[in-house]
Symmetry: C2
Subunit: 394 residues, 2 copies
């Protein structure tokens, strides 16, 4: 997986543990159009605050990302270290400080030591190579068990363009090593307004539709850099067809990475799609899907491979979504378990139990009350989730 | 514990299991003033719908309650069984059908067999005794590990009055055997508007402030019956002092029972009070407290006895409560862990870890941004919670 004009590298900076890749650098040979989406958490880590400010210019040329320390809730010192680390990279790369984006994931509230960055920066920059992305994907892992990448090659007006996404995320989506980060690199020529709109819409349909435990992080971010080296006809408001093709590929990558995150959810043994159909309004449908997807009792039943539709209906009932309980149908994959709000009995439940034993399945709740739909991806809540998160910092 | 004019009994009705108390009856010799608060879940079990209708009259004389089957999501048949079971009790007691309140807790969506009620009703009514409340408290247990009762004796204008509360609840607060039920019996003479207002305010300050897993049930209810047999001066709008004394005692009972429910939360090893102070507005404070109290990551850290304040701050950040991250202080009991949004380091954390090892403690988050406060009671999220709820129906 190579992307024209981009190089990357990762090193062991001993930020929290001695012998693991924990610092990555992504570099574009030329200034890239850049857009980002950041955590809505009111508590934002220093790199998030810094990036948001710098991205107002719509340009960036490098991403410096560390794991092992979130650089969040660290006060003035945290911001100073973020700025200093970015400056080190900028100096070594010979670019302006403001062109460096920063990202951190790891334990919250611990001071991040600038010395870790000073020691390794020359080596890191020297290591930049056009095939280093796999190392970056590894360097940002925390409780993740696998690196997560997604790649698409496409043609825009006869010119080959590539898009590469790199992500991490496992406990959805929290400080303490469980933040969600995603970097998307492309050699496409695309105008800033189009890139930003595509990133925003893509995130809405992917990362904002997954949940592992309903928690959000102080450090979540999605950054997209488009360096234009492919030389395709500009994707802008006039290039409707080009935009369509590009957006479809980018959305694919977002969704692919989002599902990889759910599948790698802390302790997860199953990926479950929660689909609401026949809702009166879209917000209600989304609330219903999210409430079911986040219910500890529903998720624990998935882990127990128990077709416990009562818990799903009860979560639906408290979601705030308007519906008539006597019209609800519920399906596990294609098998109907509830009709007009009433369970269909032991035989249906037996058929559904077989579906629950699969690694992935869909729960469809049809409210029979309108035309709106919503879909959310979740995982089960297992003994290992508790083990991972009870012992995490020790 | 006896309450003038009230008798009760419980029997083994084989509703779900053969050899356990699963049907209880509470009876007042005279019609009682009655008020209730019911689940806000849009999906309501048949007995809830029936009770709400009957309570419009503000009077009741009996409560018939079963465990083992929630009689929820059972359609027309469910309502027919609820009505028929009430009628059986009414006939045997020689009172009007409409004077019987019904309550159910247990598995959702299974048909409830009227034959279970027919078989045992004569024995149940015959068994009514003024010291049978402990049996009723046992008959309504599901995943509860202990029966929950709370009793107060008080004096109103020189007359002795008693109040007895009986409750169940363990997984907060869900179908499948984890519904919260509470019955409060008193021999006080109290007018309907006063009783209803006191019940509503009491529930708001107690059961609505506890959480085990954030789920609510199709069957939750709090019922209060006041039969007036004590003969005290009527508690009404003119008897301000009498009302104060009565309300204080009743609130005490609600809070006592609520804390017993949290302490018996499924798999719980710790009871934790989440207190928000210095908030700009009350709703924000309550949102913040609830979000922290329901965060799986926070609750899992409590289980792990990890003073993981970063998770608490991050939950606060996504709660929707407005605050300035740089002004937040956080305490475990009296020990300060965070000041001005920044952690106070390893020594403070060590002191806090000792507090985390206790069976109960308080997390105080001071937003230093206003005068409003909120308090919520929660428990930890343990391996046993998963075990209980993954295996529950099998």
């Amino acid at each position: 997986m190579k992307i024209k004009g981009f190089t990357s590298a990762a090193v062991k900076a001993a930020i929290r543990e001695k012998d693991r890749l924990d610092l990555g650098l992504i570099y574009s040979e030329v200034p890239a159009v850049a857009a980002g989406v950041f955590t809505t958490n009111r508590v934002k880590a220093a790199p998030v605050i810094l990036d948001m400010e710098r991205l107002l210019q719509g340009r960036a040329q490098a991403i410096l990302v560390n794991s092992g320390n979130a650089n969040a809730c660290a006060g003035k010192q945290g911001m100073e270290v973020a700025v200093a680390a970015g400056a080190l990279a900028a100096k070594q790369l010979g670019i302006a400080e403001e062109m460096v984006q920063l990202a951190s994931t790891g334990v919250i509230g611990l001071p991040l030591d600038i010395k870790c960055f000073e020691r390794v920066m020359p080596e890191l920059v020297k290591g930049l190579a056009n095939d280093g992305f796999d190392d970056v994907a590894r360097a940002i892992m925390t409780t993740d068990t696998v690196p997560k990448m997604s790649f698409r090659r496409l043609e825009i007006d006869g010119t080959e363009v590539s898009i590469l996404g790199i992500a991490k995320g496992s406990g959805m989506i929290m400080p303490d090593m469980a933040t969600m980060l995603c970097f998307v690199l492309t050699d496409a020529q695309i105008a800033f307004p189009e890139l930003l709109a595509i990133v925003k819409a893509g995130v809405e349909q992917s990362f904002n539709r997954i949940t592992v435990d309903g928690d959000t992080s102080t450090n979540d971010m999605v950054l997209a850099l488009a360096n234009g080296v492919a030389g395709n006809q500009w994707i802008d408001e006039d290039n409707v067809r080009g935009r369509e093709i590009f957006e479809a590929a980018m959305s694919d990558i977002f969704k692919d990475l989002a599902l990889k995150i759910v599948a790698d959810g802390e302790g997860a043994t199953k990926v479950v799609t929660i689909r609401i159909t026949g809702a009166r309004d879209e917000d209600g449908a989304m609330n219903a899907a999210q409430t079911i997807a986040n219910s500890s009792l529903v998720k624990t039943a998935f882990f127990g491979e128990d077709a416990n539709w009562g818990r799903i209906i009860a979560a639906l009932g408290r979601s705030g979504c308007r519906f008539d309980p006597d019209r609800v149908s519920l399906f596990f994959d294609e098998i109907r378990m509830v009709e007009n709000g009433v369970g269909l009995g032991p035989r249906a439940e037996e058929a559904c139990s077989a579906i629950l034993r699969k690694d992935s399945f869909t729960v469809t709740v049809d409210l029979n009350d309108g035309l709106e739909t919503a879909e959310v991806y979740t995982c089960d809540l297992s003994l290992d989730y508790i083990r991972i998160n009870a012992d995490y910092r020790s």
